[in-house]
């Protein structure tokens, strides 16, 4: 299982490259209008909020603690998993995706800062410890997923209400 550092280990699995991270930063700098911002948030909801609660939601109600832990691990540490043309699996944890995808315009928003703190907490969890309270972690992950959706909705509402340009959340 992963050590929680962000570089998910395992055969054929590696985290986002530095070049990819740079490419994302360049893309963000090209966001010239609010529509782009909203679409970037839609991407966050699609790629992070959705998949970080994916396995847990489809667990049977009477699933064992071990099954829950496995599901939470997959949701948080292998949030985005794709296989390339060579069959190589690429996987990224939620906190890496979050840091890569959150629009810079929102980094001072209180909700974004709260999500940031929650992601840091997830990154530091003892993922190899079966005795840890994984049900509490699952609840915290769900809250973080909801917060990402909330952030997206907040910005959308602000845009519809005509509050252009200020995404500080104040």
């Amino acid at each position: 299982m992963d050590d929680g550092s962000g570089a998910v280990s395992g055969a054929g699995i590696h985290s986002a490259t530095h070049a990819e991270t740079e490419a994302m930063a360049i893309r963000r700098s090209l966001m010239t209008d609010q529509y782009e911002l909203i679409e970037a948030l839609d991407d966050l909801v699609h790629d992070v909020a959705k998949y970080m609660v994916f396995e847990v939601r489809f667990l049977a109600p009477d699933a064992s603690d071990a099954a829950l832990r496995e599901a939470v691990f997959t949701d948080v540490c292998r949030t985005r998993t794709v296989r390339d043309a060579n069959g190589m699996v690429h996987s990224e944890p939620a906190w890496v995706l979050w840091r890569r995808m959150v629009p810079t315009e929102l980094k001072n928003h209180p909700l974004a800062q709260s999500i940031d703190a929650a992601m840091n907490h997830l990154a530091a969890l003892p993922w190899d410890d079966p005795a840890h309270d994984w049900r509490a972690v699952a609840a915290a992950v769900k809250q973080t997923s909801d917060d990402i959706r909330g952030l997206s909705q907040h910005v959308r509402n602000a845009e519809e209400g005509g509050s252009h340009g200020d995404h500080s959340g104040h």
């Binding site: 679409e39 839609d42 909801v45 699609h46 790629d47 959705k50 994916f54 396995e55 489809f58 998993t81």
Partner: protein, 541 residues
């Protein structure tokens, strides 16, 4: 078991589907159109369903819909809408395979895109906390059953009476010509269904079927909706947009409640019929349109012409010689037994009873693949894998004697209620068959009292002019309450949807006291297995 292809850039959806629904043969994920096209060739006609993601994170060279030297921004947008492009291509090689779009996107945009590109369904499944393994499975099974249960005539019941046979023959003839077709008849008589599933099909046209219900459009937007508009043509018109005529080019346009046309729109429609060109509101450019026009009304158009509220020249252009009047259900010489069997087949194909059926099958320890109606004095012979709903003679007498003012629409809903309540009763009794069912758990009797009470409630509601405010059914505490509640909830949502003409914000106001909760209501609407397209047919039918 069905062969299901997943088109997705990630592994997680198909992994979960394989785990939750191991009985199906899952293929994929096909990452983009190239792999999807290859998979469709390999699988041939065996594909029973496609699950298609909308957002694809693929390299630019693998994306459909990009110009030669795309900007960073156009690449991002192409990724976010790649599913629609794939669907467009998919339809060229597999026009009839059910396709389910998987998305977290906003409902209205999704609906438009699904309509435009011919998705069978669009769903929020996989992206809502209320959707679990059970409901996901329900959605997939419902779609598969609908496909298996689809009859040659689709949802249209013609019956065997000479009058209905003559109508069908006449309609088929007019469907093939280029002139408009006019459908007359009372509410619920099936005008919309016939336009969509018969006239459009028989016209053998390649274009789309577009339906416009003028009773649901504000008068000042009718012209823009039908003929299109340019930016600034009216308040709130922020971009050029095509109208229904352009959208239906090469296909069929159904205009329901045509008597509601404003005088200005009547003038414009006349010009379209005469010249076969359409001019968007606020524009001068003419666009050629080739559309099979079907209009419907419940009003006396000749009377409106006499009163000067409907243009005589337009009336003549609408080809009144082709007018086909669909009779009220009571006047059709209906074979009620056949109609009942037809309705039960449709309900089975729609999969609406699946939750209750699963619970009943679990209680009685039988394997249930579907439902069928049995009409007669004696209990039916067993049919392998089927639960048989038995409509004995006294129950059929209740059905025959009811006036059915809501016609086929009312009949379909009444039968669905009857099946739901009968199955709920059977579950409440612990799955033990009643004595009248001769001790067989594969037979569920539809009792006359249950049907009588239900129809009486509807009549009482109507007399109090409150039929749209109440369900006309009453449920008492019983086991399997969750399933019963879900079926009742589905009926309630249907009623509200019809009452509010598909306005989810208005429904949210009624249900939650919050118009802003429209998306939440639409999510629940989808989860209950209701489909906007079907409900629209009910509204305009």
């Amino acid at each position: 078991m069905a062969t299901i292809l997943v088109i997705d850039d990630q592994d997680r959806t198909i992994d979960m589907c394989r785990r939750v629904m191991p009985e199906h043969d899952w293929h994929g994920p096909a990452r983009g159109w190239g792999e999807a096209e290859a998979a469709m060739k390999d699988l041939g006609r065996g594909v029973g369903m496609v699950l298609l993601d909308v957002n694809f994170d693929l390299p630019a060279e693998a994306l459909l819909g990009l110009e030669d030297e795309p900007s960073e921004r156009s690449i991002r947008r192409a990724k976010r809408r790649q599913g629609y492009r794939i669907l467009e291509r998919l339809r060229t090689v597999a026009p009839n395979v059910p396709v389910v779009l998987m998305t977290a996107q906003d409902g209205a945009g999704m609906e438009a895109a699904a309509e435009q590109f011919g998705a069978t369904e669009y769903t929020y499944f996989l992206d809502h906390e209320d959707i679990d393994a059970h409901s996901l499975r329900g959605q997939v099974e419902g779609i598969l059953r609908r496909r298996i249960g689809a009859s040659a005539d689709g949802p249209i019941f013609w019956g065997r009476s000479a009058a209905m046979r003559a109508i069908r023959t006449r309609l088929e003839t007019f469907s093939r010509g280029r002139l408009p077709v006019m459908l007359l008849g009372p509410t619920g008589s099936g005008k919309s269904l016939i336009a969509r599933h018969f006239v459009h099909k028989k016209s053998r046209r390649d274009g789309k079927f577009i339906s416009v219900d003028l009773s649901t459009l504000p008068a000042d937007l009718v012209a823009a909706h039908l003929f299109g508009s340019v930016r600034g043509a009216y308040t709130g018109s922020i971009a050029d947009r095509s109208g229904a005529f352009e959208d239906a080019h090469g296909g069929t346009l159904f205009i329901d409640e045509v008597a509601n046309l404003t005088m200005e729109a009547q003038k414009m429609l006349l010009a379209v019929l005469q010249e076969r060109v359409v001019t968007r509101v606020g524009d001068t450019r003419e666009r050629h349109v080739d559309v099979k026009l079907v209009v419907a009304t419940n009003e006396d158009l000749t009377g409106l012409v006499a009163e000067g509220r409907f243009r005589a020249d337009l009336y003549m252009r609408l080809n009144p010689a082709s007018a086909i009047e669909l009779p009220a259900l009571k006047d059709r010489g209906t074979d009620w037994g056949r109609l009942t069997r037809f309705a039960v087949d449709r309900i089975g194909a729609e999969g609406y009873l699946m939750g209750l059926l699963d619970e009943y099958a679990g209680l009685t320890g039988q394997s249930v693949n579907g439902i069928v109606a049995h009409v007669g004095d004696q209990a039916p012979d067993p049919v392998d894998g089927m639960v048989q709903f038995w409509f004995p003679k006294p129950t059929m007498a209740c059905i025959r004697e009811h006036p059915w003012p809501g016609n086929l629409r009312e009949f379909s809903m009444a039968v669905e209620n009857a099946l739901t309540l009968s199955l709920a009763e059977a579950i409440a009794s612990g799955g033990h068959a009643r004595r009248t069912d001769e001790g067989r758990s594969d037979v569920v009797q539809v009792r006359p009292k249950l049907v009588r009470d239900q129809l009486l409630a509807v009549r009482m509601d109507r007399s109090a002019e409150a039929s749209r405010k109440t369900m006309g059914i009453e449920l008492r505490a019983m086991s399997g309450l969750n399933k019963v509640a879900q079926d009742v909830e589905r009926q309630y949502f249907s009623t509200l949807y019809l009452e509010h003409q598909g306005d989810f914000a208005a429904m949210a106001s009624v249900l939650l006291g919050d118009r802003d909760a429209a998306r939440k209501v639409q999510l629940r609407f989808n989860q209950l297995g209701l489909r906007v397209r079907d409900m629209k047919e009910r509204i305009v039918g």
